[in-house]
Symmetry: C3
Subunit: 292 residues, 3 copies
Amino acid sequence: MKNLLSMDEVSTEEIMTILNRAAEFEAGAQPQLEKEYFVANLFFEPSTRTKTSFEVAERRVGATVIPFDTGFSSVLKGETLYDTVKTIQQSGIDAVVIRHKQDAYYEELLEGLDVAIVNAGDGAGQHPSQSLLDLYTIYKEFGRFEGVQVTIAGDISHSRVAKSDAIALEKLGADVHFVCPPEWQGEFNAQHEWDQQIETSDVIMLLRVQHERDAAYEGFTTESYHAKYGLTVEREKQMKDGAIIMHPAPINRGVEIDSSLVECERSRIFAQMKNGLYIRMAIMEQILKGRD
Amino acid sequence: MKNLLSMDEVSTEEIMTILNRAAEFEAGAQPQLEKEYFVANLFFEPSTRTKTSFEVAERRVGATVIPFDTGFSSVLKGETLYDTVKTIQQSGIDAVVIRHKQDAYYEELLEGLDVAIVNAGDGAGQHPSQSLLDLYTIYKEFGRFEGVQVTIAGDISHSRVAKSDAIALEKLGADVHFVCPPEWQGEFNAQHEWDQQIETSDVIMLLRVQHERDAAYEGFTTESYHAKYGLTVEREKQMKDGAIIMHPAPINRGVEIDSSLVECERSRIFAQMKNGLYIRMAIMEQILKGRD
Amino acid sequence: MKNLLSMDEVSTEEIMTILNRAAEFEAGAQPQLEKEYFVANLFFEPSTRTKTSFEVAERRVGATVIPFDTGFSSVLKGETLYDTVKTIQQSGIDAVVIRHKQDAYYEELLEGLDVAIVNAGDGAGQHPSQSLLDLYTIYKEFGRFEGVQVTIAGDISHSRVAKSDAIALEKLGADVHFVCPPEWQGEFNAQHEWDQQIETSDVIMLLRVQHERDAAYEGFTTESYHAKYGLTVEREKQMKDGAIIMHPAPINRGVEIDSSLVECERSRIFAQMKNGLYIRMAIMEQILKGRD
């Protein structure tokens, strides 16, 4: 794997290779890189978990990480993303992990550069490393994807996680459903009530409500959203045996999920973050090995 | 020691253990950690010396340090501190060093987490690592605490250093005095003139005047504050033989201390920073060993 | 070499030592530092390439790099640069690489400190590491400096690169010419038309037009500046055989250079950045060895 850009391009074989390698790392396997690689994380949008997770994973596989302060860089001087990345490459960097507000920003980086690119989120596009850790979380739980019922609920139209997960899960044979207000379904065919979905899903994946964008929609309050689309204490009780709760975080407690459910028995929310470490170790090892 | 939160909770035995270990590091001892530990520094308030000191100390004891940009994190998206710290923990971090504007922010972190916490300053609460380096500076100078006369002068009510030092020094048998304007004494019983204090103190510890808060008080100018409460060239001459000057810095030259005294013979100001390195190595070694 | 401050102070012997060592690094030589050194990069002005280049070079020579967030430091609290740097030194740092908006900021750091200083740009002063990588780029191309015709074009009066390069190149026997609008020539004797310079130069070095300062000058538009002073497609065709194009970057594509020329055969722009890595490895090795 030369780059990791979107889940459209990753084959089911490549997915399973990464999931299996993550499982090996979780079981204590040591990374197998044979030389020193230099990596930089270019996060042009805020991030805690994704950036921290990559920072740890890169070091765990033995890479040397070069800090890059996007808020203080020449991008401020109007430099193109291509020129910034080429500059970084020429300083001796093997791979860059990029989050950027522009959809498919990586397209302008595919020619003329000799640096591996890992997409850590492009605009309203995709978020492949999050998707892979979601897949790993589901696979650890159910041992398969075929026929697993996954319901994704929340602001689907703005969610790169929803997009990446839907593509990957369908490729792997899971059944993906969506629950959200009509205004938020975007390209997806969603239901606008929970109805029986709450009882039939193996996985309920809640998405963050983007506070900053709420005003643009039809006037939900925190409470009315929670009551209609959130995972309330009552709804959790209707979930079937063995069903799990996921959330890519950061969480709005009391909006998309009742605060008391964040660490309940069904919740895999913090487990997802732990899984993210092993997944990103697997990704970075693959990507860096791909440099040889 | 599992966490380092406030000097109330640290016993005199624990203090002496850290001071002695710092002395060993200063004499060239090598740290004794037996595995790789990951540490993150979460400074939600500006800091040069404390953060830099921890960054170096952590690497010196062999920890791997993961960068965390608080100004660019999900905290901006309204995430709770608990969720942020739990996220970091799940990414594989063993210990976090936190500075945060909220008093006793760490209380909400004591349940549900499995990460060591080192308090690098909580609101107007405490600053235990600074206190320990102050203790080390005094102990190196006098070889004891019993009966040592320490005068702390300046904006005591807002100073977490004053609070931590007062608690620790009294526990160790030193006599602590305070000199400040009436409005700044907070919970402490302070004198409002230097008087004979200048001649009887073994240690004069000056605190930074917080420019941003000055307006709230009774209209000192830089000059009038310096004349009444600052360490002037004249006052330094009255200090007794062997007495030393301390300051937690950053310094306002010409306000709490005459600029020419910052590096005078009595001054231990820059020595304090050097001592801070050894103290923080001792703290981090203890805390990380406490993980096993 | 104890510090690297300005090209005035660096002898031709010292320059050639660094250039030769950079060539060794480029050929695969391993650095020869015998102990652990700690380095911090203090960039008080935005930078991508210079900072990244130092960050990689420092790690490549085996130094431990301590992060320092200038936008979040005690400098905000009004601390002097001297006190900030002394603090950092006392935390156990051997060398600091500084970029600061004040001309010759380093003068106040020459007494009282025991830390090596590498100037990464001082106000409208100098930029010695950029100059050394420019020299290396020219030397690799022509194998000599004597008689090489170098034309520097653009906002010369505000350019620390122009200043450092002019001083160094003349010292080494090259002939340096300047092309720029009358208002931008500063202390240099410049031509205000390209004329025959385009045909006789071995090196055409373009400088960034500082958008933010444009208004102060006589009303060029992007197009009119490019037509009169930029390297247009037509001008490139007039350049002599073997002549090269250089630019310290970041580039304003379409202003000082036509976008299509940025990676043309004559261009050494991205090669300069790669050369920067080897040059900065040589600088840091020298500086850190100078600590013993």
